[in-house]
């Protein structure tokens, strides 16, 4: 079977003081090939833990992750990851960063060069190919990170708040770029975000998680990602459905945060 299957994952961290934290409890998700899914939730709901398990950086306490029918046991090139920031290799040029994946596979130079050139053109860094990454702005660096991930041609792209450190204007541009790349490459993408707007824009499917223990709370099917492909994202945001969904989800998360705060206070 193709696609990504998250099968009844639980994750429990033992603390040094003898206690333990239930970071995830019985999370199951089936993500079809080519699906764009965003994950939203208050801090501490286990979204990053979930992503790290799918990436293979963490092994779940119970349950398993399957990609195209085989069980995930560790990180691999089939599951690419885009981090918030600081994951580029600053000792390499932009070009070298993007060709890192192909180079690791031992792909012939001529072939990888073609892929890198094409991707850097796509993300709009045509004139920056031989620059050092530390000479680029934050937004440009994230473009490099996207291109680097795509150069490896992964089946699934995992994005851990890739736009979280960018300013509002750059962020909006990058959101358009993510949608464009999704449509052009047809990759399965899981995107974690703190921003409700971003989750609505960049999710055909939106999963809201709840904390303590981290679990799935609600799921939505949304039209905005399709609408936003090669369109003006501000127009999408003006859509009445967008506004009402945003309010609905915001108040949902707000309630969760309130509940956590209340609970901590009563504990204290």
């Amino acid at each position: 079977m193709s696609g990504l299957k998250i099968d009844n994952i639980s994750m429990r961290f033992e603390l040094p003081n003898g206690g333990s934290v239930q970071a995830l409890q019985n999370v199951s998700l089936d993500i079809a090939k080519g699906e764009l899914m965003s994950v939203l939730g208050p801090s501490g709901c286990g979204k990053t833990t979930l992503l790290n398990i799918v990436a293979g950086f963490l092994a779940p306490t119970s349950g398993r992750v399957e990609l195209n029918g085989h069980v995930v046991t560790g990180p691999a090139a089939e599951r690419g990851m885009v981090f918030q920031q600081g994951a580029l290799f600053e000792w390499m040029s932009v070009r070298k960063n993007v060709s890192f994946g192909p180079d690791m596979k031992g792909m012939p130079k001529a072939q990888s060069r073609e892929i890198v050139d094409h991707l850097l053109d796509t993300v709009g860094l045509r004139d920056f190919k031989d620059k050092a990454v530390y000479e680029l702005s934050g937004g440009m660096q994230q473009r490099v990170a996207l291109a680097r991930c795509l150069a490896n041609d992964p089946d699934v792209i995992l994005m851990d708040e890739p736009l979280g450190a960018l300013d509002a204007l750059t962020r909006e541009k990058m959101q358009g770029l993510v949608l464009k790349l999704w449509k052009e490459t047809g990759k399965t993408i899981i995107l974690i975000t703190h921003s409700v707007e971003e989750a609505l824009l960049l999710g055909e499917r939106l999963v809201v998680m709840a904390p303590r223990p981290g679990r799935l709370h609600r799921e939505y099917r949304l039209p905005f990602a399709e609408m936003g492909v090669n369109a003006d994202l501000r127009q999408v945001k003006k859509h009445p459905d967008f506004a009402s969904k945003r309010e609905e989800i915001l108040s949902m998360i707000w309630d969760m945060e309130e509940e956590i705060m209340g609970r901590t206070e009563s504990v204290a």
Binding site: F57, G74, P75, F83, Q84
Partner: protein, 423 residues
């Protein structure tokens, strides 16, 4: 103390003078000049080139003026020692109350010059107090024995000097110096020393330069200057190289593997605070005073520094970079060579700079203890013959070489790891 006060005065004067002059002539409009808050803003503080130049010049000036150097005009010299002819008149009294006058003619000259004393006219020297002539070297004092002045009058005593009465343990100041009477009634003459330093303590700059030219032409104790310096450099480079090729992989292993870290941590943490100089005696016992000993010492000096630098270089890798490399399909070996090694280079370079500095200091110290050739050997040998000019020349050369090594390392760093501090 005086020198310190003079130095502080020069510092204050230069600072005030510079800010007055700058206020008159220049109005810059760079970022710093437009800042209203500069005190406490570290970025507004840069090294003032003018201050650096004046600082070096004033040390040089103090050196010149306290050594009476010919490189600066005479009015900049502090008072020198008394040099020239002086006469000390004295009067002796016999037990029967009779007195007689005598005179001591003194020629005080620099150690490098010969005395120029006219012979005394023995016929004119009547009475029991004899005239004497005295050949003295500047900065030295001389005892003029009572028996030499009054050989024929064992009971007579000297009662006045320069017309002023004197008693045992008394002092009489005369223009050319100080005359002291010992408790046995002899006279001690100490010509005025002035403020200048004796060449044997601090030679003038031109003496040092002359010595440098001489030694770079003829060598010292049959070893050329170049040979001395290159032996020291050679030891440093070999010791540092050996320390690095062992230390860096060991540091990587300690950064990557718990067993390695647990095993070597106590050793490294124990050896790190032990100054390499403290190892010299043991090294000499074990390896002798020849090259093996010195290179082992420098190896040890560099080793711990490089181990710690490599270990912290590995610990400094951001986990996101490691995750990124793995999820891009890197193997463990590829992660090590493509990510961990380049990422740790800035730390390793910082360690290498420290290690080079420590090695350079250690080699000189080791050569002071025992060596046939080397910069340290040269200065310790010179100090045994009180060739202070060679000692100072050696110290200056050692400083210049140490500083040059650091500058070269910094240039290499800029060229090899341009991303340092930009992550």
């Amino acid at each position: 103390m005086t020198i310190l006060l003079i130095y502080v005065a020069i510092f204050a004067a230069a600072m005030t003078g510079y800010s007055l002059v700058r206020g008159l002539f220049t109005r810059k409009h760079d970022f710093t000049s437009l800042k209203t808050v500069t005190f406490g803003d570290e970025s507004a503080v840069s090294s003032n080139r003018v201050a650096s130049i004046i600082s070096v010049l004033s040390i040089f000036l103090i050196w010149c003026s306290f050594t009476g150097s010919t490189l600066v005009p005479g009015f900049l010299h502090v008072p020198g020692p008394f040099v020239g002819k002086a006469s000390i008149a004295y009067q002796a009294t016999a037990p029967d109350g009779s007195t007689d006058d005598g005179i001591i003619l003194v020629d005080v000259h620099q150690a490098s010059e010969a005395a120029d004393l006219a012979p005394l006219d023995a016929a004119a020297d009547v009475g029991f107090a004899r005239d004497r002539s005295l050949d003295m070297v500047a900065w030295r004092s001389t005892l003029i024995s009572r028996n030499d002045l009054l050989p024929d009058a064992p009971e007579a005593v000297i009662t006045s000097v320069d017309g002023r009465p004197v008693t045992p343990n008394g002092e009489i100041e005369i223009p050319s110096g100080l005359v002291r009477m010992t408790d046995k009634g002899s006279l001690a003459f100490e010509p005025a020393k002035g403020w200048q330093m004796e060449p044997i303590w601090l030679p003038a700059p031109e003496t040092v330069v002359a010595r440098f030219i001489e030694i770079s032409k003829n060598g010292y104790q049959n070893v050329t200057l170049w040979e001395n310096l290159s032996w020291s450099l050679y030891r440093v480079l070999v010791g540092f190289f050996l320390g690095s090729i062992v230390g860096v992989p060991l540091g990587y292993a300690m950064g990557l593997n718990s067993w390695f870290r647990g095993w070597f941590d106590p050793i490294v943490e124990f050896m790190r605070p032990v100054p390499p100089l403290a190892l010299i005696p043991l090294i000499i016992i074990w390896f002798g005073i020849w090259e093996t000993g010195k290179i082992s010492l420098l190896f040890l000096a560099a080793l711990w520094i490089m181990v710690i630098a490599a270990r912290s270089g590995v610990s400094g890798v951001r986990i996101t970079k490691v995750h990124a490399a793995y999820s891009l399909g890197a193997s463990k070996w590829q992660l090590l060579t493509r990510v961990i090694v380049p990422n740790s280079l800035p730390e390793i370079f910082t360690g290498a700079r420290v290690a080079m500095g420590v090695c350079w200091g250690t080699v000189v110290a080791a050569e002071l203890v025992a060596a046939e050739k080397g910069a340290g050997k040269m200065i310790i040998a010179a100090s045994k013959f009180q060739n202070t000019d060679i000692v100072i020349m050696g110290i200056i050369l050692i400083g210049i070489i140490g500083y040059s090594i650091d500058i070269l390392m910094r240039m290499a760093e800029k060229w090899l790891i341009p991303w340092k501090g930009k992550a």
